[in-house]
Assembly symmetry: D2
Homo-oligomer: 142 residues x 4
Amino acid sequence: MALKWSVDEVFDYLRQEFPQALRDGVSYDVVKLEPGEAHVRLMAGEQQLRPGGTISGPAMMELVDFAIYVLLLAHHKEAARLAVTTNLAISFLRKPQPGAIVAQIRLIKHGRTLSVARVDIVSEVDGKLVASSEATYFMGGS
Amino acid sequence: MALKWSVDEVFDYLRQEFPQALRDGVSYDVVKLEPGEAHVRLMAGEQQLRPGGTISGPAMMELVDFAIYVLLLAHHKEAARLAVTTNLAISFLRKPQPGAIVAQIRLIKHGRTLSVARVDIVSEVDGKLVASSEATYFMGGS
Amino acid sequence: MALKWSVDEVFDYLRQEFPQALRDGVSYDVVKLEPGEAHVRLMAGEQQLRPGGTISGPAMMELVDFAIYVLLLAHHKEAARLAVTTNLAISFLRKPQPGAIVAQIRLIKHGRTLSVARVDIVSEVDGKLVASSEATYFMGGS
Amino acid sequence: MALKWSVDEVFDYLRQEFPQALRDGVSYDVVKLEPGEAHVRLMAGEQQLRPGGTISGPAMMELVDFAIYVLLLAHHKEAARLAVTTNLAISFLRKPQPGAIVAQIRLIKHGRTLSVARVDIVSEVDGKLVASSEATYFMGGS
């Protein structure tokens, strides 16, 4: 399980093939990328807040999905296009204050066809775990 | 369990308090609203597609979250502001073709403090079930 | 998607290959078996109760797992031995009174390698939905 | 968040109030108990195996449920009787070889009414993570 693409190559590919993920108002940053592991940071702006001023659930779920996609691309290059997420579960533990949150993703299973990623979302404002997620994805048909 | 707000009242409230949910490029429509049940339609545009041209996972998760929020507002008015989703799980069953998808949400438990909603996402293009989701939310503090 | 084994053939196989599922104190009954669908009944005895006298979570989870296995065997015969459940999620909605509960399982996706089953657990005592579960399983290696 | 009962007190209570959890053929051992954390070991015997000779899913789910109950009792004494698990999700990552498995449970949220536990199940045979689970429970009515 070695990395085949760097962060820059991943973002070049995303800008071309998946510009929706990098649309105006969404600001992602990959702060760590290693085999089987990545930390992806979202600087939450107005668009990511819900009533009450905390970061919204959909913003966190989109961050998880994006982090998975980054990790897949880094490991499999264009082949990641064939991957499909089959399940995603998330527990919202604390309402995250506005500011940056980091999705810390780690592969806990990396099979030939099925892989499982666990994701901790941590607030940079207070260092607390704000959400816990797990996703299964499938490489290949269906 | 009676409805306290109409679809129009729900959308008036959302436009004022949660404009992010109704931002440019996201087009929701409530096609059914009854006690304990709602059908919410997303007309998926470019912004909701992923590489390969099918509707993205985050677009479906945001639709589920939005449908839950609509149902909560219709039943509890402003009090829904205090509700928090504690868990959300989704299974992606088929890649949805571009076009409209409908989240059919139904409360399968409606307790004093905890409620559970089950959501089927159906494609209007071919009538197929494309995703299945379940979410638990909590009314009140935490 | 046609049935290849009857209820009797399924139970004959289980008695030989998986006697643990039919151990003393566990009483299962298949009350419906159709392509893509089954209803499996547990007559809960003392062994399935938890403090307070309601049916325990593990008894319900074992019932879900058993119902999935019955459905797999009925469709795939011995080949079901290769199937693995990859994820299982359950929401406990109401504490089930002692007595019979029925797992109503239905395949909502039946792919070549991945299938997803949704399970409603209904109490026969009062007809209420007591739990909702979903499981993904994978036919073949891993 | 301090412990109010020792392992011995927890087991004394279980023997009186929940003998089903400690029935013949099920052998649990608490190998670590600290505030917010516990390691519970299952020595899997014939009853916990499925066809193919690996440890069954229900045996792992029952272990998770038991580990949660031990942790709740240690923190809340008899009051834990009022707790209900609202959701449980588990991913099965590898087929566990026969032998001992350990559920390493840790509270990732400990609220007044809602708590969330994350559980890693590790095989003692090869040290590998065989399953990952998360459960939410609710203290008080419903």
